[in-house]
């Protein structure tokens, strides 16, 4: 099994992963359907990366579950994250 590891400390809160994820699912750009969400705190200091599986059904809304980017060489959230805040923990993903 492979899984994604996140590092909230590293994350710069750019939400690139959300946009990339929506592209993986539907070939469109739409953070609201992404399987993960970046939450920035009000004072902009803290950031947390929340995955679909940890969301309430209300938070999920139109979101699609993460399939670890089936069919892609590398999960798109990992590929586009500029700071390696999301990384693959075992080989064989996608």
């Amino acid at each position: 099994m492979c899984y994604l590891r996140v590092d909230n400390e590293k994350c710069v809160g750019c939400k690139t992963c959300e946009v990339a994820c929506s592209y993986h699912h539907e070939k469109i750009f739409s953070p609201r359907i992404a399987s993960l969400e970046i939450r920035r705190e009000d004072n902009e200091v803290g950031v947390s990366i929340i995955f679909f599986e940890h969301m309430t059904s209300e938070e999920r809304g139109k979101r699609l579950p993460c399939d670890l980017c089936k069919g892609e060489a590398l999960p798109l959230c990992v590929k586009y994250c500029p700071v390696e805040a999301i990384t693959v923990q075992e080989a064989g993903c996608g």
Binding site: V12, C14, Y23, I28, S30, P31, R32, E44, G61, Y80
Partner: protein, 644 residues
Amino acid sequence: MKEKHFSLGGEILRVDLTSGEIWTEPTAKYSAKLLGGRGVDEWILYHEVKPAVTPFDPANRLIFGTGVLVGTLAPCATRHSIEAKSPVTGGIGSGNSCGFFSPELKFAGYDHIVFQGKSRAPVYLWIDDQHVEIRDASHIWGKTTWDTDGLIKEDIGDKRIQIACIGPGGENLVKSACIIANRARAVGRCGLGAVMGSKNLKAVAVRGSGSIEVAHPNRFMEEVDKAWERVRASPRADSLRTFGTYGRALALNEACLSPVRNFQADFWDPQKLKKATPDFYKNEYEVKRQGYFACPLYCSHVYRIERGPYAGLVCEGFEFNDVWNFLNRLDIDYPPAVIKLHSLCNEYGLDQDSSSCTIAWAFECYQRGIIAEKDTDGLKLEWGDHSVVVELLRKMAYREGIGEILAEGSKRASELVGKGSEKYVICLKGQDSMEAMRAAKGWALGCCVSPRGGTHTRGANLVELSHEIIPPEVAQKVWGIPKVEGPLSYENKAKLVVYYERLQAILDSLGVCMFTSTWWSPDLLGPEEYARIYSAATGREISGEELMIVGERIHNVEKAFNTLHASFGREDDYPPTRFLEEPISSGPLEGERLLADKWGQMLNEYYELHGWDKETGWQTRRCLEDLQLGEIADELQVTGRLIS
């Protein structure tokens, strides 16, 4: 059924604040000719605001624009432009910033918002996808931008909405008032926040849950991948990631481009600068690095001050400008002051460039005995005293005491004060000008000819400063010149300026950040790359060269607006007198200044490249018709400000 248009939200939202009416129109009718963002904003402004309309007249428009690539994975496609007739220059008011506001608006389905009219009471606009509502803002009026942000989120019951708002500065029609998104991202220049305040519009809040589709997804992603790789690999982009925009501080001081004491010097005491190095801020104050939507540059840094008079302050980071603005300009030898003054400007909704320049002018007037404590509410305007600056910013934002005068900007303030204070005004087209210019001629030209009244983001170049590392073949390929000459040379600089004016118009219309482009470093993205991304996104095939023609068109719309509204001509494209008459007083380039005759030649070359008239600086029919702007030529002709 809505017609499908690629890479667009699809609609322009129209809001009449007088009648409360809200309606939409399709964006697509403007796209081919003017792209989006600034291009479309300025086109609408040009056509709907006539010269008789004054900036605070309800008939003035306040126009927000996203950009064609905003919301996609194109690197740093996250910017919004705002345009209106400027209360500072009387000509084009135009500014641009980043954050999450622009993509959110686009996901709600809107590429632009056009405000007209004036609300009777304070309001804000709430956009929740297709639901658009004008809401009461009486409980928020008077609040800082930070409080406004929190209160509106509370009002709506959602912390994740995006907000652009004004602070007390805009409400009180301060000429340097800006519009702030994400608490720290400012559309700064030209007094756009004051136009917003004049309409009684406190904020625009948006929640967008839709999507952006591109015409050729696979091709688009291939181009995007190449672009990301370039941005990732560029060493100069890396300096942004590490230090933000402040990375080149020491080099720029050595180049005599650090304004000190209202430009009495262009070189700051190295002992003082040594205390305020990029490394120092990073090690001492930085708590986080931060980026906005789809931005691999994450140039914004969050700082915390733990000791001293400003202890407890946490805010998103200052830009390079702010060090110029608040340390060297006012000769403040206390590095954390820049963090405090920067955050105060954001909270009050004041543009830091203009505000600090007006304050520097007042300090010089005080130094020369033109004003004294009786004029300054008892404050001693002594260089280096940051606590006085804290006080003056507050007074400006609330127009209190001397703040009433300073709120007008230094040009108007000097008319009120008189007594020779006019001599110390450093303005371009009536707007306070923040850049040192004597030691970089192409940079200076770009600032001086900028239609929005100064600023280095509309044509000023940086490459002359690294001319020695640019091979002739790169100079030829990118800018069409045999060689990039050093900053003290006037040669071939007009070409660089025209190139960057066009490129900048494109970037602002696509909604992408200039730091991804050849403006920041020649190894980054140029018109060819943007054209490929644009073509794949929209399905409208365009070459880099053609895209630059669109850039030229947008620039000409801006120029025509200025000619019609403010009658600017050749004389308004000259640098402030101080830079022509007083040489640099210290530092490696002591003695250097701008020479009027060489300036004149450079200006001739610049007008020629645009196809404008050299004698007057006005546009010609031929140039406008070549750009399919014949109707603008007709209008200029009626006023007698067109050369046939």
